[in-house]
């Protein structure tokens, strides 16, 4: 569709140009948005495409954050690539057993099990002070990107410069990868699982195995996003794994529109911008966010992308664009 073909390069251009045009504060604000964009790409594979709503996804975000923290400040590995690799490995190691247990269940039980695992991890991070730093967390030392340390740049310059483009590049790369995954035969099977798991079996879809795969892939994306999230802050703290953080992930996804590939990424950006604006307007920004969420649920369940993509007459058959 031509409107999308126009929108994507435009958005890309805006994102690339942002650090040169926007004041540093706003650029630093975009960093978590980029990180959440990556996290949500993975989350939506599980939710929007496979139909599994996890209320413990923040577990993997926290896992990624703590991995980069341990790697960079405790073990002295400055290379972000190495830390990210470690985070990926950690997420696979954790998501396989957790996934094996969780994907046998659906709907409420899946949500509750994932919530329990998420809180289990949080509890571990919070209580085992000697290992995890307790509620103070673990510091994240400034990493080197592709071997370059940028010693002449101060923290802010590093963040709004090389680090920003690193994150953007990662988002684009991982986004492209996810696009291919979602449109692939594997993606077709995931959507079949989402729509009718029983029939999917009769059509030869390996429901449990593929749910597990989707879970693991989403965990990997979550962990990568988690590492990126922790770096600007310089800290990995237990609240990253708290269940309300998982809830916020769902919020962002629904805000952007989970039925659409680009929805969640849009949701991440809009949420961050919204939260920032609301925070500057009132100390009761959580209330405002709650109201917005309610409005979305009741009035705009298809999210922002649902609004942007003007649907034709609902009764008419919709031409498939290749996404959900």
């Amino acid at each position: 569709m031509t409107r999308r073909q126009f929108a994507i390069p435009c958005t890309l251009l805006l994102l690339v140009v942002a650090p040169y045009v926007l004041p540093p504060f706003y650029v630093t604000l975009m960093l978590p948005a980029l990180a959440y964009g990556i996290i949500l790409l993975g989350f939506n594979l599980l939710f929007g495409y496979t139909g599994l709503l996890s209320f413990g996804h923040a577990l993997f975000v926290g896992l990624g954050a703590y991995t980069v923290a341990v790697m960079s400040s405790r073990l002295g590995f400055k290379s972000l690539e190495l830390s990210m690799l470690a985070a990926i490995v950690a997420s696979i190691v954790v998501s396989i057993p957790v996934g094996l247990l969780c994907v046998r269940y659906v709907k409420i039980f899946f949500g509750m099990l994932t919530l329990a695992f998420g809180m289990l991890f949080h509890s571990f991070l919070f209580k085992f002070y000697n290992l995890t730093g307790g509620d103070s967390g673990i510091q994240v030392a400034r990493p080197s990107l592709l071997g370059m340390g940028f010693p002449d740049l101060d923290k802010t310059a590093f963040l709004i410069g090389p680090f920003y483009f690193y994150c953007l590049a990662l988002l684009l790369l991982l986004g492209y990868l996810m696009w291919r995954i979602v449109h692939s035969p594997f993606g077709t099977h995931l959507r079949a699982i989402r729509d009718n798991p029983r029939k999917a079996e009769y059509v030869g879809v390996r429901v449990h195995a593929f749910r597990l795969l989707a879970f693991v892939i989403s965990a990997i994306y979550g962990a990568i996003g988690g590492t990126l999230l922790a770096i600007p802050v310089g800290l990995a703290d237990p609240e990253l794994a708290y269940w309300t953080h998982s809830g916020i992930l769902v919020f962002m996804t629904v805000l952007g529109g989970f039925g659409n590939f680009f929805g969640p990424v849009l949701g991440a950006f809009v949420y961050i911008a919204l939260q920032d604006q609301l925070m500057s307007l009132t100390q009761y920004w959580r209330f405002a966010l709650g109201v917005i969420l309610i409005l979305i649920i009741i009035l705009f369940p298809t999210g922002l992308m649902g609004l942007l993509e003007r649907r034709r007459n609902r009764k008419a058959p919709v031409v498939d664009r290749g996404d959900a």
Binding site: L120, K127, Y242, F251, V254, F287, G290, V291
Partner: protein, 293 residues
């Protein structure tokens, strides 16, 4: 022995309060099939309002031993918030449960700031008012009478609920609505009214729980998010939709926590989560739950 009794009674007290909140959750889930993530908010509201009510009463010369009745009244009077919230939830009854969870999540978010606005960010306590009831001897140990009274209240409420659900006409209607909503309407029952009443009852159970606990714990914003996980542990262990399950689950959670706090503080919540995970794996419908469709 005294130590063990202490731990046990402390656990039972905690269970008594948890039962109320979890019972509310079970009722709402059983009838409306909604999992209320805002249950912690109701609990916190009961606690905060209880503090205010008691402060008000004391300032107007109420004697110290009016504490329990005042708290009970405070909790019960919050029933007024039930109907409007139910109205809101009614809009999403038939939607995908992800949306339902999110709606109650939104309510939870809002409540954090609403309570902050009304009562501020620092936790509110009632100090030592509950000591006015003195202590009672249980075997080799002493336990505050207040805690015993709360346990008694909770048992009374449990019995009352049990009687209502099993023997009263309303209870039959509630159970029938839980089984088959459209059938109930075909039989001429106004299911909308039933929904409002059940939801309000569920809300009140939560607010009363919060009100009763506040002499022994501070009313704080943390309650809103922390209670949810515990209440869910109770519901999972006991089985979704079962009141008996809420009772047993509450006892399990209350006592295990009490034991864990005493022996290995780090394992406090961890042990609960492990039990939850174990239950979900080996017996997903919980101890008393009915299998979901």
């Amino acid at each position: 022995m005294a130590v063990f009794l202490d731990i046990l009674l402390s656990g039972v007290f905690h269970a008594a309060v948890l039962f109320l909140v979890a019972g509310g959750l079970q009722l709402v889930f059983g009838v409306q099939r909604i999992i209320n993530l805002a249950c912690g908010a109701f609990y916190a509201l009961g606690a905060y309002f209880g503090v205010s009510a008691v402060a008000f009463a004391m300032a107007h010369g109420a004697p110290a031993y009016a504490l329990l009745p005042v708290l009970l009244c405070a909790g019960l009077s919050l029933a007024v918030i039930g109907p409007p919230i139910e109205r809101l939830l009614r809009l999403i009854y038939d939607r995908d449960e992800g949306f339902q969870l999110l709606l109650t999540f939104a309510l939870m978010l809002m409540s954090q700031d609403i309570f902050r606005f009304i009562w501020g960010s620092t936790p509110r306590t009632l100090g030592n008012l509950s000591l006015a009831y003195g202590q009672v001897t249980v075997g080799p140990t002493l336990i505050p009478t207040y805690k015993v009274m709360v346990i008694a209240c909770s048992i009374a409420i449990a019995l009352g609920l049990g009687w209502m659900l099993q023997k009263s006409r309303f209870g039959r209607i509630v159970r029938a609505t839980a089984e088959n909503r459209s059938m109930i309407e075909a039989l001429g029952v106004n299911s909308g009214r039933v929904m409002v009443m059940v939801f309000t009852l569920g809300t009140v159970l939560g607010t009363v729980g919060g009100a009763l606990v506040v002499p022994t714990a501070a009313a704080s914003l943390d309650m809103i998010v922390e209670l949810v996980v515990e209440a869910f542990a109770v519901v999972v262990i006991g089985g979704l939709g079962s009141m008996r399950g809420a009772l047993v689950g509450a006892l399990v959670v209350g006592i295990v926590r009490s034991l864990a706090v005493f022996y290995y503080a780090e394992l406090e919540m961890l042990s609960i989560y492990l039990i939850v995970i174990a239950v979900l794996i080996f017996r997903p419908t919980g101890l008393f739950g009915k299998p979901l469709e």
